[in-house]
Amino acid sequence: MSLVITDLHATLEDGTEILKGVSLEIPAGEVHAIMGPNGSGKSTLSKVVAGHESYVVTGGSVTLDGVDVLEMDIDERSRAGIFLAFQYPHEVPGVSNANFIRAALQARLPKGEELDAVAYYKDLYTKMDLLEMDRKFTARAVNEGFSGGEKKRNEILQMMMLDPKYCILDETDSGLDIDALKIVAKGVNAMRSPDRGILMITHYQRLLDYIAPDHVHVMAAGKIVRSGGPELALELEEKGYDFLKEDALASA
C-alpha cells in the first residue's frame, strides 16, 4: 500500500519543464518530507499529483495502491484518497465552510444516498475543537477573510473530515506563528496512522520539529537529489542548501 511516483516529468503549458524525473514512494504508515529551495518544483509536484490542469505530464507515472492516478480527473483523485492541503487556499464567497465540507463528503456517497447531517456536525465539531477553531467558522464563507493561520487550520480540518489515504501538505507551515504551527501539527499528528501516508512539503526544518518525519528528501531543479532519515533535515538546517551547488559541481 503506497503512493508511488515514478520518473515523473511535467511541463507548463508553454513547454517549460518543471519536473524532470521525480521518483518517490510514500508507503502507508509513513511520514515523508520534501525540502528544497524555492523554485525546485516542490509545489508543482503536489499540484501535478492532485491533477492541476496548468501542467502537462510528459512522462512517468503516479499510482495509488497500484491504481493509475494520472488517468483520473481532479475530483476522482480526491475521492480515490489523495488530499492536497493548499499553500494558498482559495476563497469561495457565499459558500459556508460547513456546506463546503458537507458537499465534499456527499460527493463520496453513492447517488441517492444522503449524508447523515447530525453525525456530520458532531464529527465536524469534534475536529474543530481539536484544531481550536471557533464554531463560527462553520457559518463563515470558505476562507473568506480568514487569516493565514485560519486558512491553514481550515485545510487541516478538511483533511481530517475527508479521511484521505495519502495527504500532501504544501508549505502548510508558511505564514504560521508558533502557536498556530503547534495546533496544525497536532492535527496532522492526529492523522498519523498505519493506513495513511503523509507527504509534507516545506522550506524549513521548523515544521519537522513538531511533525517528525520518517524520511526526508531534498528536491532541486525538478528532481529528488538526496534522501535520508530525519537527520537530513537537521543537516540542511545547519548547512543550508549550499551543498546542492557542491553536488552539482561534483557530478559535473
Binding site: D73, D75, V92, V95, F100, A107
Partner: protein, 435 residues
C-alpha cells in the same frame, strides 16, 4: 357576444369590463387606463428605456383572459414558508384560498374585496405614480384589466411577525394575469410580503403584467419579495413602485428563475430624512431566458440612503440587461447611494448588458455605481474539485454562493432558506451546470 367568443378574444382587442361590484371611481380609472393604453405608443427600437431589449417580446396579441379550469391542486402546491402570517392563493386572478392570523387592525384582503370594503383607503394609495421606466403602456393595460391581488394596510405601531404570502398561478394556454400588490405601512409598523409567481403547467405560454405599490410610512419597515418562477414559455412584466418616508426602511427583492422573458422595473423614492431603500435581485437565467431589469433610485429628500445589489448568474445562451440610475434631486444633500450589478458568466455564449448611471444635482453626496462581469476563476474550480466535488457541482456551488451574498441581506433565516429552495430547484434544472 357569446361567452365563448369573449374568452377567446385577444386581450388587446376590446376594453375589459369592470366587475359590477367595484366602485364607480375604479371603473372610471379602468376606462381611462384602457384609453391611455390605446394612446400610448408601443416601445420601439431606439427608445432609451428599451435599449438592448427584445422588443419582439412585446407582442401580446395571442393572450386572453381566462378562468382557471382545474384549481384544487394549486392550493396544495402553494406551500413555501411554514406557518405564514397570512396566505392567499390566486389562479388567473381569482381567489382560491385565503387564511390569516394577523394582529388586530391590520387590513389584509384580496384587492377585489378591499375595493368594496376599504375603497377610500385603496383609492388614496393605488397607482399614484407615473410609470417612468418604460412600461407606461403595459401598466395602463394592467390597470385596465386588474381584477385582483392583495391589499395590505398595517396601522401605526403594529408589527406583523412572520410573512404574508401571496401565490399567483397562471393556468391554461395563452392566459394573461394582472396581479396587483398594494402595501401601506403606518408609522413605526412592520410587515413582510412575498409574491410567488408560478405556472400551473410546464408548457403553456402565459403573460403576467404585475404591478406593486409599496408605501412605507414614517419609521416603518416594509419588506417585499417577488419570486418569479413561471414556466419557460411565459412572459412577465413586473413593475415595482416604492415610496419611503422619513426614517422608514424598505427592502425590495426579486428572484428570477422562470419565464422566457422577464422585465422588471423598480423605482424607489426616498422621500424623507433617514429613509432607506435596499434594492436586491438574484437572477439565474439559463437556456434562452432573458431578463431585462431597469432601476431608479430617486433621492428626493436629503439625508437618505439607498443601496442596490443585483446579481446574475448566466447559463447557456441566456441574456440579461441591467440599466440603473441613481438620481439625486436638487437639495437632496447628504445622500448616500450605491448601485452594483454583478454578472457571473457560467457559459461563453451568454450575454450581459449593464448600464449603470448617476445623476447628481446636490452637494455633499456619497454615491457609487458600477457593474462587473466575470467567470469563475480556474483556481477556485480546482480547489473545489481537489476536495472531490465534480466540476458540475463545483460550478453550481460557486454560483449559488454568488447569489447567497445577496440573499443573506434579507436578514431572516426562514425566508433565506425558502429563497434558496427556489434557487436550488433552478440549479437542478440546468443541464451540466452550464459547464
Amino acid at each position: 357576444m357569446s361567452a365563448v367568443l369573449e374568452h377567446t378574444a385577444s386581450l388587446l382587442e376590446s376594453a375589459p369590463e369592470t366587475p359590477a361590484a367595484f366602485p364607480a371611481w375604479f371603473a372610471e380609472r379602468q376606462r381611462a387606463a384602457w384609453q391611455r393604453f390605446l394612446e400610448t405608443p408601443a416601445p420601439k427600437r431606439g427608445d432609451e428605456a428599451w435599449r438592448f431589449s427584445s422588443i419582439k417580446q412585446l407582442d401580446f396579441a395571442s393572450f386572453t383572459r381566462e378562468a382557471a379550469s382545474t384549481t384544487i391542486d394549486l392550493v396544495r402546491r402553494s406551500t413555501a414558508l411554514e406557518s405564514p402570517a397570512a396566505k392567499f392563493v390566486f389562479a388567473n386572478d381569482e381567489l382560491l384560498h385565503s387564511e390569516s392570523n394577523l394582529p388586530a387592525g391590520v387590513v389584509c384582503l384580496p384587492l377585489a374585496e378591499a375595493l368594496v370594503s376599504h375603497g377610500d383607503l385603496v383609492r388614496a394609495h393605488f397607482m399614484k405614480q407615473d410609470t417612468r421606466l418604460g412600461s407606461a403602456k403595459w401598466t395602463a393595460l394592467h390597470e385596465a384589466n386588474l381584477r385582483n391581488g392583495l391589499f395590505v394596510h398595517v396601522p401605526a405601531n403594529v408589527e406583523v411577525e412572520g410573512t404574508i404570502e401571496v401565490f399567483h398561478w397562471l393556468a391554461g394556454e395563452n392566459t394573461a394575469i394582472f396581479p396587483h400588490t398594494l402595501v401601506v405601512t403606518g408609522a413605526n409598523s412592520k410587515v413582510r410580503v412575498v409574491d410567488y409567481f408560478q405556472s400551473a403547467g410546464d408548457e403553456e405560454p402565459g403573460l403576467c403584467i404585475a404591478v406593486n405599490d409599496l408605501i412605507a410610512g414614517e419609521g416603518s419597515k416594509l419588506d417585499y419579495l417577488a419570486v418569479q418562477a413561471f414556466n419557460e414559455q411565459t412572459k412577465v412584466i413586473q413593475v415595482n413602485e416604492t415610496g419611503v418616508a422619513k426614517d422608514a426602511s424598505a427592502t425590495g427583492f426579486i428572484l428570477n428563475t422562470g419565464a422566457a422573458w422577464a422585465r422588471n422595473e423598480s423605482l424607489s423614492r426616498l422621500e424623507g430624512e433617514g429613509s432607506r431603500s435596499d434594492m436586491l435581485s438574484v437572477s439565474v437565467p439559463a437556456r434562452e431566458q432573458e431578463y431585462d431589469q431597469r432601476t431608479f433610485q430617486h433621492h428626493v429628500s436629503p439625508g437618505a440612503y439607498s443601496d442596490l445589489l443585483y446579481k446574475n448568474s448566466l447559463y447557456d445562451k441566456s441574456r440579461t440587461i441591467f440599466s440603473g440610475l441613481i438620481f439625486v434631486d436638487e437639495g437632496a444633500h447628504r445622500t448616500d447611494a450605491y448601485q452594483t450589478c454583478r454578472n457571473l458568466f457560467m457559459s461563453e455564449d451568454a450575454e450581459a448588458n449593464s448600464m449603470p448611471g448617476l445623476e447628481i444635482n446636490a452637494d455633499d453626496v456619497k454615491c457609487s455605481h458600477g457593474s462587473t462581469s466575470s467567470q469563475i476563476p480556474d483556481e477556485e474550480i480546482f480547489y473545489l474539485r481537489a476536495r472531490g466535488i465534480d466540476s458540475v457541482r463545483a460550478r453550481q456551488l460557486i454560483a449559488r454562493g454568488f447569489s447567497v451574498e445577496v440573499i443573506e441581506r434579507l436578514g431572516d433565516d426562514k425566508v433565506e432558506e425558502m429563497i434558496l429552495r427556489f434557487l436550488d430547484d433552478k440549479f437542478a434544472h440546468i443541464a451540466g451546470g452550464g459547464a
